[in-house]
């Protein structure tokens, strides 16, 4: 460690050493830009001159051409335009669902770790029960019961995937709740809530934040799975998974419908996983 270097500076310096991680980070940044600028990128008179819902029956199921670079779907919509707009759905769901699980997991984990006893017992049993359900059954069930929409998907994914975060935070708080700075905070009269949220949680959050990159990856994966199964964002809104659902119907002759959105999902999910993995290694005090 260099003199005067913060933990984040050190982590970043180690992270940068992995070329793959830097490529993944650049790719994710590009995807975020595409998602942000989607209405400017894919619309009439834009670089990709088609809107995501511009139907053109005369050109349905066309293989990639100079005009439709990723081909067209069963209604003649431009696949590239739909993918550009689909990036918005994927990233929105990925980040929001992870934020929800981060908040829920941190609060429950903090209560369990700080108070121990009954609070710990209840949270631990809750996690045990949640882990018994096959994840997709639970998410599919919640989404279907409360009508599929962008919001139900984000909430269902967020409320079912906080167990990792909760365990992390619980463990960290158990470790640091009796350190001197925690006693000091209590000694000057800080209330429990202040001790937990001002003093302890910020010190426990770094590893959790890093691992939430995996959470984003899995939320994107599950959103596309839900859309593929027809329980995702309602049609005609473009989503990578729903393009793949159309691809399944035309599997005999339209390879481009399956190929391009799948590559997009795979690269995005893989990037978030690689980023999480390399950040975790970079923060690990046991590595050099």
């Amino acid at each position: 460690m260099r003199v005067g270097e913060s933990i984040w500076g050190l982590t970043w310096r180690r992270f940068r050493r992995s070329k793959l991680a830097v490529i993944a980070l650049v790719y994710v940044a590009l995807m975020a830009l595409v998602a942000l600028l989607a209405p400017l990128l894919a619309a009439p008179a834009a670089p990709v001159p088609f809107g995501p819902n511009d139907v053109d029956i005369a050109h349905r199921l066309e293989a990639p051409t100079a005009q439709h670079r990723f081909g067209t779907d069963d209604l003649g919509r431009d696949v590239l335009a739909r993918m550009i707009h689909g990036a918005r759905i994927s990233l929105t769901v990925g980040f929001t669902a992870t934020a929800i699980s981060l908040i829920v997991g941190s609060i429950l984990g903090a209560l369990a770790g700080y108070y121990g006893g009954a609070a710990d017992w209840i949270v631990s049993r809750l996690i045990e029960v949640l882990l018994c359900f096959p994840f997709l059954f639970l998410v599919l069930g919640i989404v279907a019961l409360f009508k599929p929409s962008l919001y139900t998907i984000m909430i269902a994914l967020g409320l079912t995937s906080w167990t990792t975060e909760a365990r992390f935070v619980r463990g960290e708080l158990l470790r640091i709740r009796d350190l001197d700075f925690a006693h000091a905070a209590r000694a000057i009269g800080a209330r429990d809530a202040r001790v937990i949220f001002r003093h302890l949680l910020p010190n426990a959050l770094a590893p959790v934040l890093v691992s939430s990159s995996f959470g984003v990856a899995s939320a994107i994966l599950f959103e596309s799975a839900l859309s593929f199964l027809g329980f995702g964002v309602p049609i005609p809104t473009a989503s990578w998974g729903s393009i793949l659902a159309i691809a399944e119907e035309h599997i005999q002759h339209a390879w481009w419908l399956a190929f391009f959105p799948g590559v997009a999902i795979f690269l995005t999910v893989a990037s978030f996983n690689v980023i999480g993995d390399r950040f975790r290694d970079a923060m690990d005090p046991r590595s050099d």
Partner: protein, 326 residues
């Protein structure tokens, strides 16, 4: 040991009630009573009939009484009747379960028998290029969406090369075949679903066994074994591998819900007649007794698996006691 077993069983019973409360709370947190959900897709019947249905299903009783009726049903394996065809939910589940079991068991074995050796091997090559390449490889495998892999496999092997069946469990002329042909036909139908269901699992097994072995190699008794002059291969085989395999037992409980989740996607795409596809179809038909029955059944299966894994773990490694296992 006995007191551990008793406590572990008590927790399992508790978790079982947690599962039932969670599912019951979920269904009751939907606005309106269950009849509203049941009939939302089919139009509401007249008030008198509705009253009769509500009475028959105990929906006119207090919420706690409703819960008790519901749990009584579950304990006696009675999940009610399918709305779609009026047959008992349990009969449907029992009919489809063997198909899912076969598919999941084969996928589990493929994943374990390939993933564990690969993981152990890559842990012994720590720091070399092959180890780092395999670590990235596991990640990429793990990031592949299964439904996309399924589509690509179908496109390549079934449509382009036409060597494997597109979907289904048997061919149309299955009944006219002799025994050997029937077996071959079944195997041919299994290949693509098993590949789709097992590759991500394989990556998990490989990563898990790799980190388990890496953990063991760091410990003092390995250094001791090396210091006393044992051959490197003997250290690996006699000391390290055995201890690295013990944590794999926990994967038994963890992977079952994972496999069942995957079954929903794989069985739907390949039209495999198991509980994953049954769940998906019931969801589309809004057959809620079926959905509830399947959710509780699969959660209870997971519960048994993790109970079994925990007990096995203690038997395999006497150092572990209940509190540490938490």
């Amino acid at each position: 040991m006995l007191s551990y077993l008793i406590r572990r069983l008590a927790y399992a019973v508790l978790t079982f009630f947690g599962i039932t409360v969670a599912v019951f709370a979920l269904i009751h947190s939907v606005p309106g009573d269950p009849t509203a959900i049941f009939f939302s897709a089919r139009g509401r019947p007249p008030a008198a009939i509705l009253q009769h249905i509500r009475h028959e299903h105990h929906l006119d009783e207090p919420i706690v009484a409703q819960y008790v009726w519901w749990v009584k049903g579950i304990v006696t394996l009675d999940f009610g009747k399918s709305i779609f065809d009026g047959q008992p939910v349990m009969a449907h589940i029992a009919e489809k379960m063997p198909n899912t079991f076969v598919l999941n068991l084969i996928s589990f074995l493929v994943a374990a028998l390939l993933g564990v050796p690969i993981g152990l091997w890559s842990a012994t090559r720590s720091g070399r290029l092959s180890e780092r390449a395999s670590a990235v490889g596991f990640f990429l495998l793990y990031s592949l969406p299964s439904f996309w892999v399924a589509l690509l496999l179908m496109q390549f092997f079934s449509v382009k090369l036409n060597v494997l069946p597109l979907f289904g469990m048997t061919s149309d002329d299955y009944l006219q075949m002799n025994a050997a042909q029937q077996l071959l036909d079944r195997v041919r139908h299994l290949i693509l679903p098993v590949v789709t269901l097992s590759y991500a699992e394989l990556a998990i097994f490989a990563r898990f066994s790799k980190s388990a072995l890496t953990e063991v190699i760091r410990q003092d008794f390995i250094t001791t074994a090396r210091a006393k002059g044992a051959a490197p291969a003997a250290v690996m085989w006699r000391h390290a591998f055995r201890n690295a395999l013990i944590p794999l037992i926990t994967l038994l409980g963890l992977t079952i819900p994972y496999l069942i989740s995957g079954s929903v996607i794989v069985e739907t795409i390949f039209q495999w007649d198991g509980i994953g596809r049954l769940y998906f179809d019931s969801m589309q038909q809004r057959d809620y007794p079926m959905v509830l029955g399947l959710t509780v059944t699969t959660a209870v299966i997971t519960l048994f698996a993790s109970l079994f894994a925990d007990i096995l773990y203690v038997l395999a490694d006497p150092r572990i006691r209940f509190e540490e296992a938490r």
